[in-house]
Symmetry: C2
Subunit: 447 residues, 2 copies
């Protein structure tokens, strides 16, 4: 255990709540500030994408001693269910037997995490907005408004867990030599719902991650415990088929009928949510340094917001906390070293998952209909299944392992180089299943 | 002329003052706000790099009708003077006969530009800091402090000319879908001075841009009208030879003696400034969009701050104003179109000069001592001199033309591809001067 510190966490989201549990275990006094009301007392916002918990997330929860409680909220999905135009639904297994991602409602998980952090002894101060942070003195200033009289709090340590639009980071950003970028993609998303059947059962297979890929837009659906599905429509903000182009009930009817015929019974629900729920933007945020001496550090989205196309946003944030905890165990009360090693170890990894997530967006947008791309995936998959010791697919490295994201990116690039060569084999469309192709891959792997 | 508008410009720097002159010519009422005092009434800050006015800058000044006044403040430099270790100084001409860049003191130029803007009828409000901008209503809020009572100003149009750390952009940055990045380099700079001789003459050749390249650091010197030189020391913040490593008088003596023996008589001056003047950071800033409907747009560094290694920061900012003025002349009172076309035309060009400036930093830092790099430059130069119609060097495209920066970047990359091939010729170190090499270049150009 470390010497007790007065610690503030800004933000009561998933990562902030998890961090609170770890800090309580280390013996610290923990206060969590959030500008929003207690999520346990309000309705959900209708702007959330269901979460896909995978290995890195589970590892952190296990270390926190709360894995079992969270498992009860989650549904395992061991495959994708592809809804491609007029074809019948077909399934793609994610990994080996027993490997699955876990669908969890963000709101339900957040409520539970706050309960658990509170049980662990963390204090929450909801509806108290941070207006300013005094970095060198670890002071927070809260109040009714930017111009009202502020309340001052003095802490030993402050953790910014306040998300992509972090006020804590915002303050750090005004320092010289602070690198920062925010890059929005031209695609937005909207939460939609498919309700449960009358008997509470799911309307679609509830052990699958459902995808309707449609070129430059797509719909996904993930099951909830109550029999419903949380769907997310990803679509360009502007253009031919876009959020901007669907303004009337009639346009919405036509859109859902034309592109999602196999769930057309759900149109009235989808349409209701389409006009009720907001359209949200997606952003990649990078910055460095994350820490200010032994006073302040950033965790989760405030340090590295990513686009959601690899399902790793929460997992990467939870892994931050795993690593922080490891550093606390290693370095005792030397917080400057803890923060320094934490940021140095995490930065290349969160850059890597940002890159992989963005690439998945490009891939899903433009390549899922490309026969050459699909063939490449088929060859890779066959080889990986036959020689699992020679070829772990990138998706599995990211999702079903806790090895560094940056290694996953590097090895993925290396594998892509090999597949580029393989795809150059004349007549590969016919010979893809042959021993020749297999030997070629082995040969390239030996180089 | 356009219909008269109430216009605010935030920032009384070079670009803001130039814009004021153009807007006055178009018949608008112009108020310029600056949080700093009037630069005409205060001493200079000691953190400035002399400016190198080149074609794009002169073009804008000519259009504003103030070229002649500014020429009087400038000294033409038609060559680099290279101070390389123990060798005697040697000279590299910048371009054709008559082509030169022009050394101007930033402070002196700024004072003059404010005079000229004031003569043109612009009103200045110095020491009045903008705390907030209401984007949709084009309102500015100023006051003593962030929490004091603010004064509200309503305008028709607001131009953010408030530099790399723009308050105007800062407000735009909080919008969704606003892309932004700030990237600092690990090298800082410091202003130093070599005073005039007793008779007012220059101590070094005053028609040269002086460079002391020293691997990962360098000193430059540019002449002023009063016989002095404004020098800039570029050096890593941390490391073996760095700003951090020079803390005592003795360390400074040793540094200047060891690395700059040909100006060792100046050590006491250099050293005085070294400890008096601040060490400043350098940043590349990119953002988009620059405009908010028909209300607000960004100009100069607030839209696109770049590192100074191509001498194009001010030139790019002045070119913004040229282009804005062109759009005003084309589109009359349609400010939404003016702002939209302005940003769309400028963005790829300012991205290009940002990239070229950063590359020049890398080149100057790591390649000026690389024999293969120097040979490549020599071959290129010889070919360009012999066949000026076939090969305009990148530097000349950027500096002595007003063609798009983005074309300069593209053509530069194309030329680099050709030179990569040329450098692969076996024994190029011996044959570089041969007809064979010349033919090879021509051959590659014909492909």
């Amino acid at each position: 255990m470390q010497n007790q510190k007065e610690v503030a966490i800004v933000g009561s989201g998933l990562v902030g709540s998890l961090l609170a549990i770890f800090l309580r275990k280390q013996g610290h006094k923990v206060t969590i500030f959030d500008r929003r009301p207690d999520v346990r007392l309000v309705e959900f916002s209708g702007r959330s994408i269901n979460l896909a918990m995978s290995n890195r997330g589970w590892k952190a929860l296990r270390e926190a001693g709360i894995e079992d409680e969270i498992r009860e909220l989650a549904l395992p999905l061991d495959k994708r269910a592809m809804h491609v135009d007029d074809k019948p639904v077909y399934f793609q297994k994610y990994g080996e037997d027993g490997e699955a991602i876990y669908s969890i409602s963000r709101g339900i998980l957040n409520r539970k995490m706050i309960d658990l952090a509170e049980e662990a002894g963390a204090k929450f101060r909801f509806e108290e907005k941070i207006w300013d942070v005094d970095l060198p003195n670890a002071k927070l200033y809260t109040g009714e408004s930017e111009k009202s009289v502020w309340k001052e709090y003095k802490f030993d340590l402050i953790f910014g867990a306040d998300g992509a639009f972090s006020r804590t980071r915002h303050k750090m950003q005004r320092q010289s030599r602070f690198n920062y970028s925010q890059h929005f993609i031209d695609v937005g998303y909207k939460e939609l719902t498919i309700p449960a059947n009358a008997d509470g059962s799911h309307k679609l297979d509830n052990a699958s991650f459902h995808i309707w890929p449609r070129g430059n837009f797509m719909l996904i659906a993930m099951p909830n415990l109550d029999g419903s599905f949380t769907c997310t429509l990803f679509m360009p903000f502007e253009g031919d088929v876009s959020f901007e182009s669907i303004q009337t009930e009639q346009q919405a009817d036509q859109f859902f009928e034309q592109y999602f015929p196999d769930i057309k019974d759900e149109i009235s629900n989808l349409k209701r949510d389409f006009f009720k729920n907001p359209t949200s933007a997606m952003v990649t945020i990078k910055c460095y340094p994350w820490s200010y001496f032994d006073k302040i550090t950033l965790v989760g989205d405030s340090a590295h917001a990513i686009v959601p196309f690899y399902g790793q946003g929460m997992n990467a944030g939870f892994e931050d906390i795993s690593v922080l905890n490891e550093k606390m165990n290693q370095h005792g009360d030397n917080w400057e070293i803890i923060f320094e090693e934490y940021q140095r170890e995490r930065k290349p990894n969160t850059d890597a998952i940002a890159e992989l997530s963005y690439r998945n967006f490009v891939e899903m947008s433009s390549k899922t209909a490309d026969p050459s791309f699909l063939l490449r995936k088929k060859i890779e998959k066959k080889f990986a299944q036959k020689y699992p010791e020679l070829w772990v697919p990138l998706y599995s490295r990211v999702t079903f392992s806790d090895k560094a994201y940056s290694d996953a990116l590097d090895i993925g690039d290396y594998q892509r180089g090999i597949m580029d060569e393989v795809m150059k084999i004349p007549g590969i469309e016919e010979t893809w299943d042959s021993e020749e192709v297999e030997l070629k891959i082995k040969d390239l792997l030996n180089k």
